[in-house]
């Protein structure tokens, strides 16, 4: 399915943008509600720390996760996965972009789930790289932490969306119910 822009009617595009804005602003606003923050976002950050530690240990890195703090105990170095570092915002935007798109519901759902998982996989790389950056090049930590990786994660989100859009566009029409 595609979003046509015939000169006579731009309603599909307007409807898509409105749906995207509604889902993304609603999702971001939900992050500020305390029960969601403490009940979902913070536990998710702790899971990210544990998964990052497991991934590092798989490669013999000797990492530990205590709560949302990921550390390399033998070096005395660590990073905390705070709000804004868990790629939840980018995940919400990606999910909103896919869910609002006029495609089959199953394709949207699959795209949102797989897309967010891919984005979070990239975010794991971000977290692990920042842990080692803090250890070996702390002067560059802020640049990569606050700015560079954020832009890269969003660019990844855009690329995932473009790949999904092409994928769903090429599904056989017979499959559309």
């Amino acid at each position: 399915m595609t979003l046509d822009f015939p000169p006579a009617s731009r309603w599909p595009a307007v409807r898509y943008l409105a749906g995207f804005a509604l889902i993304s602003i609603g999702g971001i606003a939900a992050l500020l509600v305390e029960p969601i923050d403490t009940g979902l976002v913070q536990p998710f950050s702790r899971v990210l720390a544990s998964v990052s530690a497991a991934a590092i240990n798989l490669c013999g890195g000797g990492a530990e996760a205590q709560g949302a703090v990921l550390s390399l105990a033998r070096f005395g170095s660590g990073v905390e996965i705070a709000n804004g570092c868990n790629a939840i915002e980018a995940s919400i935007l990606l999910a909103a972009a896919i869910l609002a798109f006029p495609a089959r519901p199953a394709h949207r759902l699959a795209g949102a789930v797989v897309g967010v998982l891919l984005l979070q996989a990239v975010n794991l790389l971000r977290i692990i790289s920042l842990l080692y950056l803090d250890l070996y090049a702390p002067a560059w930590f802020d640049f990569f932490h606050l700015y560079f990786w954020d832009a890269l994660i969003m660019l990844d989100g855009l690329l995932i969306f473009l790949v999904w859009q092409r994928w769903q566009d090429r599904r056989p029409l017979a499959a559309t119910g």
Partner: protein
């Protein structure tokens, strides 16, 4: 738009982002300094902020017209000031290298010059609005004397009170939401929206719209 075009776009955009971020890092504090008067003027229209002064570390000190009424400095009859860290302001300008990386990646907009000029104007406006949203949440925390849900560690009330009527609960929440959107969403979403708006090719392979007749 075929697979190779998407791949070329992805490769170019990622590769361009690296040097552009480097250039941005070298110039970002100058950009913040250059835009300070514009933000100070705009914020003064909407908020009890009298002026923004450079703090010597790339950030600003916001001077408010809010009178301190109780607390440690109450007897000095002074107005409340607060620091605005450069780290926060720089975030709002990350949109620039990201926008340039998207704009310069093939397939480019047919009128690239127009896209760059209009995009730069839009991102300048976005910075002014974002910085004002940041000032708004600081002012809301000062006035309501309560931590804002947008960041309960950063936006904590100071050890004094100011004389001003409190913002209502929804407005206080909106101040936090505006800050959150301005800091974590818009600097990275705006370049993508601009790219879609100004580049018909991006709409063709991003949204599936047919090529123009």
């Amino acid at each position: 738009m075929d697979r190779s075009a998407r791949f070329r776009f992805a490769l170019f955009a990622v590769a361009a982002l690296v040097p552009l971020m480097g250039l941005w890092w070298l110039s970002v504090d100058s950009m913040i300094a250059a835009l300070r008067p514009l933000v100070a003027w705009f914020a003064a229209l909407l908020l009890p902020v009298r002026d923004l002064l450079p703090d010597g570390a790339g950030g600003w000190t916001a001077q408010t017209s809010l009178q301190v009424t109780s607390g440690k400095w109450a007897d000095a009859r002074q107005e409340a000031n607060f620091p605005v860290a450069a780290e926060l302001l720089r975030r709002y300008l990350v949109a620039w290298p990201f926008f340039l990386a998207l704009a310069l990646a093939p397939p480019r907009a047919p009128r690239l010059g127009l896209m760059l000029v209009a995009g730069s104007a839009a991102l300048t406006l976005l910075f002014v609005l974002s910085a004002t949203a940041l000032l708004f949440v600081f002012v809301a925390v000062l006035i309501n004397h309560a931590p804002n849900p947008a960041d309960r560690l950063q936006f904590v009330p100071p050890p004094f009170y100011v004389a001003a009527p409190h913002y209502s609960g929804p407005i206080f929440f909106l101040a936090g939401l505006a800050f959150y959107m301005a800091s974590y969403v818009l600097p990275l979403l705006a370049p993508i929206l601009l790219w879609f708006a100004f580049n018909p090719a991006s709409r063709r392979f991003g949204l599936g719209a047919p090529p123009p007749c």
